[in-house]
Protein backbone atom coordinates (compact mmCIF):
# COMPACT_ATOMS: atom_id res chain seq x y z
CA UNK A 1 0.00 0.00 0.00
CA UNK A 2 1.42 3.30 -1.08
CA UNK A 3 -0.32 6.32 0.42
CA UNK A 4 0.94 8.73 -2.22
CA UNK A 5 -0.76 6.78 -4.97
CA UNK A 6 -4.02 6.39 -3.03
CA UNK A 7 -4.23 10.05 -2.08
CA UNK A 8 -3.48 11.17 -5.64
CA UNK A 9 -6.55 9.32 -6.89
CA UNK A 10 -8.69 10.49 -3.97
CA UNK A 11 -7.71 14.06 -4.79
CA UNK A 12 -8.62 13.51 -8.45
CA UNK A 13 -12.04 12.08 -7.51
CA UNK A 14 -12.80 15.00 -5.22
CA UNK A 15 -11.78 17.48 -7.93
CA UNK A 16 -14.21 15.71 -10.22
CA UNK A 17 -16.93 16.08 -7.61
CA UNK A 18 -16.48 19.83 -7.58
CA UNK A 19 -15.79 20.39 -11.28
CA UNK A 20 -18.16 17.99 -13.03
CA UNK A 21 -21.75 19.29 -12.75
CA UNK A 22 -23.31 15.80 -12.94
CA UNK A 23 -21.33 14.61 -9.93
CA UNK A 24 -21.74 17.83 -8.01
CA UNK A 25 -25.49 17.71 -8.53
CA UNK A 26 -25.99 14.04 -7.67
CA UNK A 27 -23.71 14.01 -4.65
CA UNK A 28 -24.10 17.38 -2.97
CA UNK A 29 -26.82 19.55 -4.49
CA UNK A 30 -29.44 16.81 -4.74
CA UNK A 31 -29.41 15.91 -1.02
CA UNK A 32 -29.43 19.61 -0.18
CA UNK A 33 -32.33 20.40 -2.48
CA UNK A 34 -34.24 17.35 -1.29
CA UNK A 35 -33.82 18.31 2.34
CA UNK A 36 -34.90 21.83 1.51
CA UNK A 37 -37.97 20.59 -0.37
CA UNK A 38 -39.00 18.28 2.45
CA UNK A 39 -38.31 21.02 4.94
CA UNK A 40 -40.67 23.35 3.17
CA UNK A 41 -43.31 20.73 2.37
CA UNK A 42 -43.41 18.69 5.56
CA UNK A 43 -41.73 20.98 8.03
CA UNK A 44 -44.95 21.26 9.98
CA UNK A 45 -45.11 18.50 12.64
CA UNK A 46 -48.91 18.56 12.28
CA UNK A 47 -48.44 16.67 9.02
CA UNK A 48 -46.95 13.81 10.97
CA UNK A 49 -43.68 13.72 9.06
CA UNK A 50 -41.32 15.83 11.05
CA UNK A 51 -37.58 15.77 10.63
CA UNK A 52 -36.91 13.15 13.25
CA UNK A 53 -38.60 10.75 10.84
CA UNK A 54 -37.25 12.27 7.63
CA UNK A 55 -33.59 12.83 8.44
CA UNK A 56 -32.39 9.20 8.63
CA UNK A 57 -34.18 8.53 5.32
CA UNK A 58 -32.72 11.58 3.61
CA UNK A 59 -29.23 10.64 4.73
CA UNK A 60 -29.36 7.09 3.41
CA UNK A 61 -31.20 8.27 0.30
CA UNK A 62 -28.21 10.49 -0.56
CA UNK A 63 -25.78 7.67 0.11
CA UNK A 64 -27.67 5.30 -2.18
CA UNK A 65 -26.94 7.60 -5.13
CA UNK A 66 -23.24 6.85 -4.74
CA UNK A 67 -24.14 3.68 -6.68
CA UNK A 68 -24.85 5.80 -9.71
CA UNK A 69 -21.80 8.05 -9.53
CA UNK A 70 -19.44 5.14 -8.93
CA UNK A 71 -20.92 3.27 -11.89
CA UNK A 72 -20.68 6.39 -14.06
CA UNK A 73 -17.16 7.11 -12.97
CA UNK A 74 -15.83 3.62 -13.69
CA UNK A 75 -17.57 3.26 -17.05
CA UNK A 76 -16.41 6.72 -18.13
CA UNK A 77 -12.83 6.00 -17.15
CA UNK A 78 -13.01 2.67 -18.93
CA UNK A 79 -14.42 4.27 -22.10
CA UNK A 80 -11.76 6.96 -22.10
CA UNK A 81 -8.89 4.50 -21.73
CA UNK A 82 -8.04 5.87 -18.30
CA UNK A 83 -8.44 2.57 -16.47
CA UNK A 84 -5.89 1.01 -18.81
CA UNK A 85 -3.64 3.97 -18.36
CA UNK A 86 -3.78 3.64 -14.57
CA UNK A 87 -3.29 -0.09 -15.01
CA UNK A 88 0.14 0.32 -16.64
CA UNK A 89 1.44 2.33 -13.68
CA UNK A 90 2.72 0.47 -10.61
CA UNK A 91 -0.56 1.14 -8.78
CA UNK A 92 -2.01 -2.11 -7.43
CA UNK A 93 -5.70 -2.95 -7.73
CA UNK A 94 -5.95 -2.84 -3.93
CA UNK A 95 -4.67 0.73 -3.90
CA UNK A 96 -6.98 1.61 -6.76
CA UNK A 97 -10.15 0.28 -5.15
CA UNK A 98 -9.01 1.61 -1.78
CA UNK A 99 -8.84 5.13 -3.16
CA UNK A 100 -12.42 4.85 -4.43
CA UNK A 101 -13.60 3.57 -1.06
CA UNK A 102 -11.92 6.47 0.72
CA UNK A 103 -13.21 9.18 -1.62
CA UNK A 104 -16.77 7.88 -1.46
CA UNK A 105 -16.72 7.52 2.33
CA UNK A 106 -15.63 11.12 2.43
CA UNK A 107 -18.47 12.13 0.09
CA UNK A 108 -21.00 10.17 2.16
CA UNK A 109 -19.89 11.91 5.33
CA UNK A 110 -20.11 15.25 3.56
CA UNK A 111 -23.69 14.37 2.59
CA UNK A 112 -24.57 13.57 6.20
CA UNK A 113 -23.21 16.92 7.29
CA UNK A 114 -25.22 18.75 4.63
CA UNK A 115 -28.48 16.97 5.46
CA UNK A 116 -27.97 17.26 9.23
CA UNK A 117 -27.14 20.95 9.17
CA UNK A 118 -30.14 21.72 7.01
CA UNK A 119 -32.42 19.50 9.07
CA UNK A 120 -31.27 21.30 12.22
CA UNK A 121 -32.30 24.50 10.54
CA UNK A 122 -35.78 23.06 9.97
CA UNK A 123 -36.15 22.21 13.61
CA UNK A 124 -34.68 18.70 13.80
CA UNK A 125 -33.37 18.05 17.33
CA UNK A 126 -31.49 14.75 17.58
CA UNK A 127 -31.28 13.32 21.09
CA UNK A 128 -27.93 11.56 20.61
CA UNK A 129 -24.63 12.41 22.26
CA UNK A 130 -21.18 12.67 20.64
CA UNK A 131 -20.65 8.91 20.66
CA UNK A 132 -24.01 8.49 18.97
CA UNK A 133 -22.99 10.87 16.19
CA UNK A 134 -19.70 9.05 15.73
CA UNK A 135 -21.62 5.79 15.41
CA UNK A 136 -23.97 7.41 12.88
CA UNK A 137 -21.02 8.52 10.76
CA UNK A 138 -19.49 5.07 11.03
CA UNK A 139 -22.71 3.46 9.85
CA UNK A 140 -22.88 5.79 6.86
CA UNK A 141 -19.22 5.17 6.03
CA UNK A 142 -19.95 1.43 6.01
CA UNK A 143 -23.10 1.93 3.98
CA UNK A 144 -21.10 3.93 1.40
CA UNK A 145 -18.98 0.79 0.86
CA UNK A 146 -22.15 -1.09 0.04
CA UNK A 147 -23.00 1.59 -2.54
CA UNK A 148 -19.47 1.48 -4.00
CA UNK A 149 -19.81 -2.31 -4.32
CA UNK A 150 -23.18 -2.05 -6.07
CA UNK A 151 -21.70 0.69 -8.28
CA UNK A 152 -18.88 -1.67 -9.28
CA UNK A 153 -21.39 -4.41 -10.07
CA UNK A 154 -23.33 -1.92 -12.22
CA UNK A 155 -20.13 -0.85 -14.02
CA UNK A 156 -19.35 -4.49 -14.71
CA UNK A 157 -22.74 -5.06 -16.36
CA UNK A 158 -22.98 -1.71 -18.15
CA UNK A 159 -21.31 -1.28 -21.54
CA UNK A 160 -21.33 2.51 -21.45
CA UNK A 161 -21.62 5.39 -19.00
CA UNK A 162 -25.12 6.07 -20.29
CA UNK A 163 -26.23 2.51 -19.66
CA UNK A 164 -24.64 2.63 -16.21
CA UNK A 165 -27.00 5.42 -15.17
CA UNK A 166 -30.03 3.35 -16.13
CA UNK A 167 -28.82 0.06 -14.75
CA UNK A 168 -27.89 1.61 -11.42
CA UNK A 169 -31.60 2.18 -10.80
CA UNK A 170 -32.00 -1.58 -10.37
CA UNK A 171 -30.16 -1.12 -7.10
CA UNK A 172 -31.30 2.40 -6.31
CA UNK A 173 -35.09 2.16 -6.69
CA UNK A 174 -35.88 -0.68 -4.26
CA UNK A 175 -33.70 0.87 -1.60
CA UNK A 176 -35.36 4.21 -2.25
CA UNK A 177 -38.95 2.98 -2.04
CA UNK A 178 -38.74 0.38 0.66
CA UNK A 179 -35.82 1.46 2.73
CA UNK A 180 -35.76 5.18 3.26
CA UNK A 181 -38.34 7.76 4.25
CA UNK A 182 -41.40 6.36 2.58
CA UNK A 183 -43.42 4.96 5.49
CA UNK A 184 -43.17 1.20 5.70
CA UNK A 185 -46.26 -0.98 5.98
CA UNK A 186 -46.29 -4.57 7.18
CA UNK A 187 -46.15 -5.82 3.57
CA UNK A 188 -43.31 -3.61 2.42
CA UNK A 189 -41.38 -4.38 5.57
CA UNK A 190 -40.85 -7.90 4.31
CA UNK A 191 -39.19 -6.56 1.17
CA UNK A 192 -37.34 -3.92 3.13
CA UNK A 193 -35.79 -6.50 5.43
CA UNK A 194 -33.66 -7.62 2.49
CA UNK A 195 -32.33 -4.13 1.77
CA UNK A 196 -29.37 -2.66 3.63
CA UNK A 197 -30.87 0.83 3.56
CA UNK A 198 -33.67 -0.38 5.87
CA UNK A 199 -31.16 -1.17 8.62
CA UNK A 200 -29.32 2.10 8.08
CA UNK A 201 -32.51 4.11 8.48
CA UNK A 202 -33.56 2.05 11.48
CA UNK A 203 -30.17 2.49 13.14
CA UNK A 204 -30.00 6.21 12.47
CA UNK A 205 -33.56 6.67 13.76
CA UNK A 206 -32.67 4.86 17.00
CA UNK A 207 -29.48 6.88 17.45
CA UNK A 208 -31.11 10.24 16.74
CA UNK A 209 -34.07 9.20 18.86
CA UNK A 210 -31.76 8.82 21.84
CA UNK A 211 -31.92 5.02 22.18
CA UNK A 212 -29.08 3.54 24.23
CA UNK A 213 -26.19 2.67 21.93
CA UNK A 214 -25.98 -0.80 23.40
CA UNK A 215 -29.58 -1.66 22.59
CA UNK A 216 -30.02 -5.04 20.98
CA UNK A 217 -31.88 -3.56 18.04
CA UNK A 218 -29.03 -1.20 17.20
CA UNK A 219 -26.46 -3.98 17.52
CA UNK A 220 -28.41 -6.10 15.07
CA UNK A 221 -28.67 -3.19 12.62
CA UNK A 222 -24.96 -2.51 12.89
CA UNK A 223 -24.14 -6.17 12.41
CA UNK A 224 -26.31 -6.52 9.32
CA UNK A 225 -24.95 -3.31 7.77
CA UNK A 226 -21.34 -4.39 8.38
CA UNK A 227 -21.76 -7.88 7.01
CA UNK A 228 -23.82 -6.87 3.98
CA UNK A 229 -21.55 -3.94 3.09
CA UNK A 230 -18.36 -5.95 3.35
CA UNK A 231 -19.88 -8.83 1.37
CA UNK A 232 -21.16 -6.56 -1.39
CA UNK A 233 -17.93 -4.61 -1.76
CA UNK A 234 -15.99 -7.87 -2.01
CA UNK A 235 -18.38 -9.21 -4.66
CA UNK A 236 -18.19 -5.89 -6.53
CA UNK A 237 -14.40 -5.84 -6.51
CA UNK A 238 -14.11 -9.44 -7.67
CA UNK A 239 -16.67 -9.04 -10.47
CA UNK A 240 -15.15 -5.82 -11.67
CA UNK A 241 -11.62 -7.19 -11.60
CA UNK A 242 -12.67 -10.22 -13.56
CA UNK A 243 -15.13 -8.85 -16.11
CA UNK A 244 -15.33 -5.09 -15.82
CA UNK A 245 -11.79 -3.88 -16.23
CA UNK A 246 -11.51 -4.69 -19.93
Amino acid sequence: MNLQRIMALVKMELKKLIREPAYLFLMLLFPAVLTLAFGIAFGDPALGMDFSVLTPGLISYACIFIIMTVAMSFTEQREQGLLKRINVTPMTSGEFIGSHMISNMFIAILQVVIVLVMALFFGFRPLSDVVGFILAFLIIALFSLCSVGLGLITATIAKSAGAATGISFIFILPQMFFGTFIPITDTTRIIAMFLPSYYVVDALASIFGGAPLTSENLLIDFGVISIVSVAIIIIGIQLFKKYGNK
Binding site: N2, Q4, R5, M7, A8, L9, K11, M12, K15, K16, R19, E20, Q80, G81, L82, K84, R85, I86, N87, V88, T89, P90, M91, T92
Partner: protein, 268 residues
Protein backbone atom coordinates in the same frame (compact mmCIF):
# COMPACT_ATOMS: atom_id res chain seq x y z
CA UNK B 1 24.62 -2.08 -32.70
CA UNK B 2 22.89 -3.96 -35.48
CA UNK B 3 24.82 -6.04 -37.97
CA UNK B 4 23.71 -7.17 -41.41
CA UNK B 5 22.77 -10.53 -40.00
CA UNK B 6 19.86 -8.89 -38.23
CA UNK B 7 18.01 -8.59 -41.48
CA UNK B 8 15.65 -11.48 -41.64
CA UNK B 9 12.70 -12.04 -43.87
CA UNK B 10 11.29 -14.92 -41.91
CA UNK B 11 10.41 -14.94 -38.23
CA UNK B 12 13.53 -15.61 -36.18
CA UNK B 13 13.92 -18.64 -34.02
CA UNK B 14 14.13 -18.04 -30.28
CA UNK B 15 17.74 -19.23 -30.05
CA UNK B 16 18.72 -16.51 -32.54
CA UNK B 17 17.60 -13.83 -30.19
CA UNK B 18 18.49 -15.20 -26.77
CA UNK B 19 20.62 -12.64 -25.06
CA UNK B 20 23.09 -13.98 -22.50
CA UNK B 21 24.68 -10.58 -21.80
CA UNK B 22 21.47 -8.95 -20.74
CA UNK B 23 21.79 -6.17 -23.28
CA UNK B 24 18.19 -6.44 -24.34
CA UNK B 25 15.42 -4.16 -23.23
CA UNK B 26 12.83 -6.45 -24.74
CA UNK B 27 12.78 -10.04 -25.89
CA UNK B 28 9.73 -11.45 -27.62
CA UNK B 29 9.68 -15.19 -28.32
CA UNK B 30 7.08 -16.93 -30.46
CA UNK B 31 4.44 -14.49 -29.36
CA UNK B 32 0.88 -15.24 -30.40
CA UNK B 33 -2.16 -13.18 -29.47
CA UNK B 34 -5.48 -14.42 -30.62
CA UNK B 35 -8.84 -12.74 -30.21
CA UNK B 36 -11.98 -14.79 -30.83
CA UNK B 37 -11.68 -14.87 -34.60
CA UNK B 38 -8.56 -12.80 -35.32
CA UNK B 39 -4.92 -13.71 -34.83
CA UNK B 40 -3.56 -10.24 -34.17
CA UNK B 41 0.02 -11.34 -33.44
CA UNK B 42 1.19 -14.49 -35.12
CA UNK B 43 4.45 -16.00 -33.90
CA UNK B 44 6.44 -12.82 -33.36
CA UNK B 45 10.13 -13.04 -32.47
CA UNK B 46 11.98 -9.85 -31.75
CA UNK B 47 14.76 -8.45 -29.63
CA UNK B 48 15.13 -4.78 -28.86
CA UNK B 49 18.42 -3.51 -27.44
CA UNK B 50 18.81 -1.20 -24.51
CA UNK B 51 19.05 2.40 -25.68
CA UNK B 52 17.57 1.62 -29.05
CA UNK B 53 14.84 3.63 -30.75
CA UNK B 54 12.89 0.89 -32.42
CA UNK B 55 10.22 1.60 -35.00
CA UNK B 56 7.38 -0.87 -35.34
CA UNK B 57 6.02 -0.12 -38.78
CA UNK B 58 3.00 -1.66 -40.43
CA UNK B 59 -0.42 -0.95 -41.91
CA UNK B 60 -3.52 -0.46 -39.79
CA UNK B 61 -4.56 -3.72 -38.20
CA UNK B 62 -1.08 -5.25 -38.52
CA UNK B 63 -0.89 -5.98 -34.80
CA UNK B 64 1.27 -3.12 -33.53
CA UNK B 65 -1.03 -1.99 -30.72
CA UNK B 66 -1.73 -5.58 -29.69
CA UNK B 67 2.02 -6.22 -29.41
CA UNK B 68 2.48 -3.12 -27.24
CA UNK B 69 -0.48 -4.11 -25.07
CA UNK B 70 1.03 -7.52 -24.43
CA UNK B 71 4.39 -5.95 -23.58
CA UNK B 72 2.86 -3.61 -21.01
CA UNK B 73 0.65 -6.29 -19.48
CA UNK B 74 -2.76 -5.08 -20.65
CA UNK B 75 -3.28 -8.25 -22.68
CA UNK B 76 -2.22 -11.78 -21.79
CA UNK B 77 -0.33 -13.57 -24.54
CA UNK B 78 -2.12 -16.56 -26.04
CA UNK B 79 1.24 -18.26 -26.53
CA UNK B 80 4.89 -17.34 -26.25
CA UNK B 81 6.98 -15.17 -23.99
CA UNK B 82 7.55 -11.48 -23.59
CA UNK B 83 10.43 -10.21 -21.48
CA UNK B 84 10.56 -6.50 -20.67
CA UNK B 85 13.57 -5.07 -18.85
CA UNK B 86 14.57 -8.60 -17.87
CA UNK B 87 11.16 -9.44 -16.38
CA UNK B 88 8.62 -11.83 -17.82
CA UNK B 89 5.33 -9.98 -18.26
CA UNK B 90 3.41 -13.04 -17.15
CA UNK B 91 5.34 -13.55 -13.95
CA UNK B 92 6.65 -10.22 -12.86
CA UNK B 93 4.34 -7.56 -14.20
CA UNK B 94 4.77 -5.34 -11.15
CA UNK B 95 8.49 -4.94 -11.91
CA UNK B 96 7.75 -4.32 -15.57
CA UNK B 97 5.33 -1.54 -14.67
CA UNK B 98 8.02 0.23 -12.68
CA UNK B 99 10.24 0.41 -15.77
CA UNK B 100 7.83 1.43 -18.48
CA UNK B 101 5.94 4.45 -19.73
CA UNK B 102 3.08 3.95 -22.14
CA UNK B 103 1.63 6.46 -24.56
CA UNK B 104 -1.64 4.88 -25.74
CA UNK B 105 -2.82 5.22 -29.32
CA UNK B 106 -6.02 6.94 -28.20
CA UNK B 107 -5.14 9.86 -25.93
CA UNK B 108 -6.35 9.16 -22.40
CA UNK B 109 -6.44 12.19 -20.13
CA UNK B 110 -8.80 13.42 -17.41
CA UNK B 111 -11.00 16.10 -18.96
CA UNK B 112 -11.81 17.95 -15.77
CA UNK B 113 -8.15 18.31 -14.82
CA UNK B 114 -5.71 20.68 -16.47
CA UNK B 115 -2.53 19.41 -18.11
CA UNK B 116 -0.37 19.94 -15.04
CA UNK B 117 -2.82 18.14 -12.77
CA UNK B 118 -2.99 15.23 -15.21
CA UNK B 119 0.79 14.92 -15.38
CA UNK B 120 1.27 15.26 -11.62
CA UNK B 121 -1.42 12.66 -10.96
CA UNK B 122 0.48 10.08 -12.97
CA UNK B 123 3.77 11.17 -11.40
CA UNK B 124 2.16 10.38 -8.06
CA UNK B 125 0.89 7.04 -9.31
CA UNK B 126 4.53 6.24 -10.03
CA UNK B 127 5.30 7.31 -6.45
CA UNK B 128 7.87 9.83 -7.63
CA UNK B 129 9.20 12.42 -5.16
CA UNK B 130 7.06 15.57 -5.34
CA UNK B 131 10.03 17.75 -6.19
CA UNK B 132 11.01 15.57 -9.11
CA UNK B 133 7.42 15.53 -10.39
CA UNK B 134 7.36 19.31 -10.41
CA UNK B 135 10.74 19.63 -12.13
CA UNK B 136 9.96 17.10 -14.81
CA UNK B 137 6.46 18.46 -15.41
CA UNK B 138 7.88 21.95 -15.97
CA UNK B 139 10.56 20.61 -18.27
CA UNK B 140 8.29 18.41 -20.39
CA UNK B 141 5.60 21.07 -20.70
CA UNK B 142 8.26 23.49 -21.89
CA UNK B 143 9.81 21.03 -24.35
CA UNK B 144 6.47 20.25 -25.96
CA UNK B 145 5.35 23.86 -25.89
CA UNK B 146 2.38 23.25 -23.63
CA UNK B 147 3.31 25.45 -20.66
CA UNK B 148 0.90 28.22 -21.53
CA UNK B 149 -2.10 25.91 -21.91
CA UNK B 150 -1.19 23.79 -18.91
CA UNK B 151 -3.45 25.67 -16.49
CA UNK B 152 -6.54 25.16 -18.61
CA UNK B 153 -8.75 22.11 -18.29
CA UNK B 154 -8.03 19.62 -21.05
CA UNK B 155 -11.72 19.57 -22.02
CA UNK B 156 -11.04 22.46 -24.39
CA UNK B 157 -7.78 21.16 -25.87
CA UNK B 158 -7.26 20.57 -29.57
CA UNK B 159 -6.46 17.06 -30.75
CA UNK B 160 -2.79 17.93 -31.14
CA UNK B 161 -2.52 19.39 -27.63
CA UNK B 162 -4.20 16.33 -26.18
CA UNK B 163 -1.70 14.10 -28.00
CA UNK B 164 1.23 16.06 -26.62
CA UNK B 165 -0.14 15.76 -23.11
CA UNK B 166 -0.74 12.07 -23.73
CA UNK B 167 2.97 11.68 -24.45
CA UNK B 168 4.13 13.79 -21.51
CA UNK B 169 2.09 11.63 -19.13
CA UNK B 170 3.78 8.55 -20.58
CA UNK B 171 7.21 10.04 -19.90
CA UNK B 172 6.70 11.73 -16.53
CA UNK B 173 8.32 8.87 -14.63
CA UNK B 174 11.43 9.09 -16.84
CA UNK B 175 10.91 5.44 -17.81
CA UNK B 176 13.75 3.18 -18.94
CA UNK B 177 11.50 1.80 -21.64
CA UNK B 178 8.88 3.91 -23.39
CA UNK B 179 6.11 2.61 -25.63
CA UNK B 180 4.80 5.30 -27.95
CA UNK B 181 1.83 4.02 -29.94
CA UNK B 182 1.30 6.22 -32.98
CA UNK B 183 2.04 9.35 -30.95
CA UNK B 184 1.85 11.83 -33.82
CA UNK B 185 -1.34 10.74 -35.59
CA UNK B 186 -3.48 13.74 -36.33
CA UNK B 187 -0.85 16.33 -35.42
CA UNK B 188 -0.30 19.07 -37.96
CA UNK B 189 3.02 18.82 -39.85
CA UNK B 190 4.80 21.53 -37.88
CA UNK B 191 3.87 20.07 -34.51
CA UNK B 192 4.71 16.60 -35.81
CA UNK B 193 8.26 17.68 -36.70
CA UNK B 194 8.87 19.22 -33.31
CA UNK B 195 7.49 16.07 -31.68
CA UNK B 196 9.89 13.97 -33.74
CA UNK B 197 12.74 16.10 -32.47
CA UNK B 198 11.57 15.50 -28.95
CA UNK B 199 11.28 11.74 -29.43
CA UNK B 200 14.74 11.72 -31.03
CA UNK B 201 16.15 13.48 -27.99
CA UNK B 202 15.08 10.58 -25.75
CA UNK B 203 17.72 8.48 -27.47
CA UNK B 204 20.48 10.74 -26.16
CA UNK B 205 19.33 9.89 -22.64
CA UNK B 206 19.95 6.23 -23.38
CA UNK B 207 16.27 5.34 -23.08
CA UNK B 208 14.76 2.51 -25.02
CA UNK B 209 11.87 3.68 -27.15
CA UNK B 210 9.41 1.51 -29.03
CA UNK B 211 7.58 3.65 -31.49
CA UNK B 212 4.72 2.28 -33.54
CA UNK B 213 3.72 4.13 -36.64
CA UNK B 214 2.22 3.76 -40.05
CA UNK B 215 4.03 6.89 -41.22
CA UNK B 216 6.98 5.82 -43.32
CA UNK B 217 8.86 9.12 -42.88
CA UNK B 218 8.44 8.91 -39.15
CA UNK B 219 9.96 5.44 -38.95
CA UNK B 220 12.77 6.43 -41.31
CA UNK B 221 13.58 9.68 -39.58
CA UNK B 222 13.71 8.36 -36.04
CA UNK B 223 14.45 4.66 -35.82
CA UNK B 224 17.76 2.96 -35.25
CA UNK B 225 16.04 -0.13 -36.52
CA UNK B 226 12.60 -0.85 -37.82
CA UNK B 227 10.57 -4.02 -37.71
CA UNK B 228 7.93 -4.13 -40.40
CA UNK B 229 4.90 -6.19 -39.42
CA UNK B 230 1.98 -7.32 -41.50
CA UNK B 231 -0.88 -9.60 -40.42
CA UNK B 232 0.80 -10.09 -37.06
CA UNK B 233 4.07 -11.33 -38.54
CA UNK B 234 7.47 -9.72 -38.76
CA UNK B 235 8.28 -9.47 -42.45
CA UNK B 236 11.45 -7.37 -42.31
CA UNK B 237 13.90 -6.20 -39.66
CA UNK B 238 16.93 -3.92 -39.80
CA UNK B 239 18.03 -0.32 -39.93
CA UNK B 240 16.13 1.74 -42.51
CA UNK B 241 19.32 2.02 -44.56
CA UNK B 242 19.97 -1.72 -44.50
CA UNK B 243 16.43 -2.50 -45.54
CA UNK B 244 16.46 -0.03 -48.39
CA UNK B 245 19.77 -1.44 -49.63
CA UNK B 246 18.64 -5.03 -49.34
CA UNK B 247 15.44 -4.44 -51.24
CA UNK B 248 16.98 -1.88 -53.58
CA UNK B 249 14.34 0.62 -52.58
CA UNK B 250 14.45 4.35 -52.07
CA UNK B 251 12.22 4.28 -49.00
CA UNK B 252 10.50 1.92 -46.58
CA UNK B 253 7.23 2.19 -48.44
CA UNK B 254 8.92 0.55 -51.42
CA UNK B 255 10.41 -2.10 -49.15
CA UNK B 256 6.94 -2.96 -47.90
CA UNK B 257 5.63 -2.89 -51.46
CA UNK B 258 8.32 -5.28 -52.70
CA UNK B 259 7.62 -7.78 -49.92
CA UNK B 260 3.83 -7.65 -49.85
CA UNK B 261 2.76 -6.11 -53.13
CA UNK B 262 0.66 -3.63 -51.14
CA UNK B 263 1.06 -0.16 -49.77
CA UNK B 264 1.40 0.54 -46.03
CA UNK B 265 -1.04 3.41 -46.06
CA UNK B 266 -3.93 2.59 -48.27
CA UNK B 267 -5.59 5.11 -50.49
CA UNK B 268 -2.55 7.20 -51.36
Amino acid sequence: MSSKSNIKDKPQKPEDIFDPNNNSAIIIKDLVKQFEDVTAVNGLNLEIKKGELFGLLGPNGAGKTTTINVLCGLLKPTKGTAIVGGYDVRKNLKKVKELIGVCPQEPAVFKFLNARENIELFGNLHAMPKKKIKERTDKLLELLDLTEASKRKTKGYSGGMRRKLNMIIALISDPEIAFLDEPTVGMDPRVRRSTWEFIGSLKNQNKTVILTTHYIEEAEALSDRVGIIDYGELIALGSPKELMEKYESKNLEEVFMKITGRRIVEGI
